[in-house]
């Protein structure tokens, strides 16, 4: 196992040249993933329309794995329907904490670059942090959507 397994070129590229880093003008949901043990922080802003992620941006500070993972995630889910986002989320978790298989990540080679992190157990949480924040954002949005639907029906 070498250091390159962890810090693949793709990861360092996303860390050094982050995609979708910044703020949205008019986000629908904002969440924050935080690991108090290492201080990693990922702030997420999501704009949703027609059951898809229209735009997404992240901020925060942390280690290369958490920040690169956030950059990769935003690139993968931007413009995707929520059903596809759910599927990607499950596939990413399968790679990081499940069987390690990358089968569900076809077409998302950058995400696959994080596969090596699985062999560094203390860093797995860093890679998952932005996904946890995204799951929370979608949960908030869906709850709000259900509530507004209930409101209309009544």
């Amino acid at each position: 196992m070498s250091l390159d397994d962890l810090y693949k070129e793709t990861i360092l590229d996303h860390y050094q040249e982050p995609r979708n880093r910044g703020q949205l003008v008019d986000p629908d949901v904002a969440t924050r993933g935080h690991n108090p043990l290492c201080g990693d922080e990922v702030q997420l802003q999501v704009q949703l329309a027609d059951d898809a992620i229209r735009d997404i941006a992240f901020g925060g500070r942390g280690c290369s794995i958490s920040q690169a993972s956030a950059s990769m995630m935003t690139e993968s889910v931007k413009g995707e329907p929520l059903a596809e986002v759910d599927r990607l989320m499950a596939a990413f978790k399968e790679m990081m904490v499940g069987s390690g298989s990358t089968d569900g990540l076809d077409g998302h080679e950058d995400l696959e670059a994080l596969q090596g992190v699985k062999r560094f157990p203390v860093r797995v949480k860093c890679a998952l942090l932005p996904w946890t924040a995204l799951a929370e954002a979608l949960e908030i949005w869906r709850r709000a959507a259900r509530a507004s639907l209930d409101h209309k029906e009544s």
Binding site: L12, Q16, S64, Q67
Partner: protein, 450 residues
């Protein structure tokens, strides 16, 4: 009991090839002007021969735990192979030998810190348990509503959380002395914090993050002037500098064996005899009793009143070998060696562009600890990259979240030294840090306009 009557377990007989003829030599703290023979010392630490990721190990995580010389490892083996028995109540030879070895280390520990006698030395699991012992016994019986406990913002969690509990349960106030930009305390501010309502001042002697050596003797005087007691967290100081409880005039001192070449699982609480005699016991059970009736019991005398159950006999015995080793080196020489190393590390690490070093700028004012940040690179990334050069450093909050908050950061990278470290190892660290800097340079963590 005379020291001469102590049976000599094989561990104390010395070993061929050993740098330091044992047994324990009485004596001063060593002539500071004679430097340590570091190459000879290194040969006593078998682990220093190993490689990590194909590189020679450069162990710079001594503030977390130190490595062990073969004399300590051998003492464990000798105990288990030669005289393993439960102590104190046995009438057979092994029990007597084990008891004598265990109690002999208590006497050595007392001498090492300048205690009035072995009755004042209690063995615990670690520094944390030693501090908690005071919190659970003395503090809960003494601290009343409206009283104050004074600590500092550079404390380890083990010297914060127990006092938060005492304060919450007794309705007392926990007050913090703050450190300044150079990582040192302002004695005037400490003096103002300590009032007639203060029952305890509990303070780290040497910060495990900043390296700062605090003026604990002066603070003890301030505490006593207001009728408060003084507890010193010596986890980082006792392994690295001469510490004499008589000179500090504190009331309690806590430290751990594993940070001073001893095994894990042994801590020491030193306390003034009169205080320890007046306190109620901590854990109830075997050994700590005198007579047990159906409804109540009377308690053993010091120090056994505080050592319920079978103690960590083997590790205490091996801790004796660690004390011998340090006493033979001389704590003044240990200190001088670390000042030299820290001075070099401050200069070399500090010369890397983008490095920020925390704590006092002068090596004399700090122990063998150098905490730093490097650009915006997360400490875990720094730690992971230098690990692949064989360099073991620590990264994170170092169990000091209050301190990190005061510095406005989430963590630091930390190199910490001991007697076997060399300036050449500092060079290896510096090269590894430059490698990390090159690897992670970029726009991450910055505010990038979108």
């Amino acid at each position: 009991m005379s020291e001469n009557l102590t049976p000599q377990p094989p561990s104390l007989k010395g070993r061929e090839g050993s740098t330091f003829p044992l047994p324990f030599r009485e004596g001063g703290q060593g002539d500071r002007s004679i430097p340590l023979d570091v190459e000879a010392i290194r040969r006593d630490f078998p682990i220093l021969e190993r490689q990590v990721h194909g590189k020679p190990l450069v162990y710079l995580d001594n503030a977390a735990t130190s490595q062990k010389p073969h004399q300590v490892i051998q003492a464990l083996v000798d105990y288990y192979q030669g005289y393993n028995a439960n102590i104190h109540r046995g009438v057979h030879a092994l029990a007597e030998e084990a008891t004598e070895a265990y109690e002999g280390v208590r006497r050595k520990t007392a001498r090492f810190i300048g205690a009035d006698g072995p009755q004042e030395v209690l063995f615990t699991r670690n520094t944390t348990e030693a501090i908690n012992l005071i919190a659970y016994t003395w503090a809960r019986d003494t601290v009343a509503e409206g009283d104050e406990i004074v600590i500092t913002t550079m404390e380890h969690h083990s010297n914060i959380v127990p006092w938060q509990w005492v304060a919450q349960q007794r309705g007392a106030r926990l007050k913090y002395a703050e450190f300044g930009p150079d990582g040192t305390l302002d004695l005037d501010q400490v003096a103002r914090l300590i009032t007639p309502r203060t029952k305890l001042v509990s303070m780290v002697h040497m910060s495990n993050v900043l390296g700062t050596i605090n003026p604990v003797a002066e603070v003890a005087r301030l505490a006593h002037a207001q009728g408060a007691l003084m507890l010193v967290d010596g986890a980082q100081s006792v392994p690295h500098l001469p510490v004499d409880v008589g000179a500090i005039e504190c009331d309690f001192l806590a430290f751990s064996a594993h940070k001073m070449m001893g095994p894990t699982g042994v801590g020491v609480l030193w306390g003034r005899r009169a205080l320890l005699e007046g306190m109620r016991p901590f854990l109830g059970g075997g050994e700590m009793i005198e007579q047990v009736g159906r409804d109540s019991s009377t308690y053993n005398v010091l120090p056994w009143k505080y050592e319920a159950g079978t103690p960590n006999i083997a590790d205490v015995v091996a801790f004796g070998a660690a004390l011998d080793y340090l006493a033979t080196l001389g704590m003044e020489r240990v200190r001088a060696h670390e000042i030299e190393l820290v001075d070099y590390a401050l200069e070399q690490v500090g010369s890397i562009p983008g490095v920020q070093i925390y704590g006092p700028p002068q090596a004399e004012r700090r122990g063998g600890v150098v905490s730093f940040g490097l650009d915006d690179i997360h400490p875990h990334d720094i730690g992971q990259v230098v690990d692949y050069q064989g360099v073991a450093i620590r990264a994170g909050h170092h169990c000091c979240q209050v301190l990190m908050k005061a510095l406005g950061i989430s963590g630091t990278a930390r190199a910490s030294f001991y007697v076997y470290n060399t300036p050449r190892e500092v060079d290896v660290l510096v090269r590894a840090l430059i490698g990390a800097k090159e690897m992670f340079s970029g726009k991450a963590n910055g505010s990038v306009a979108r």
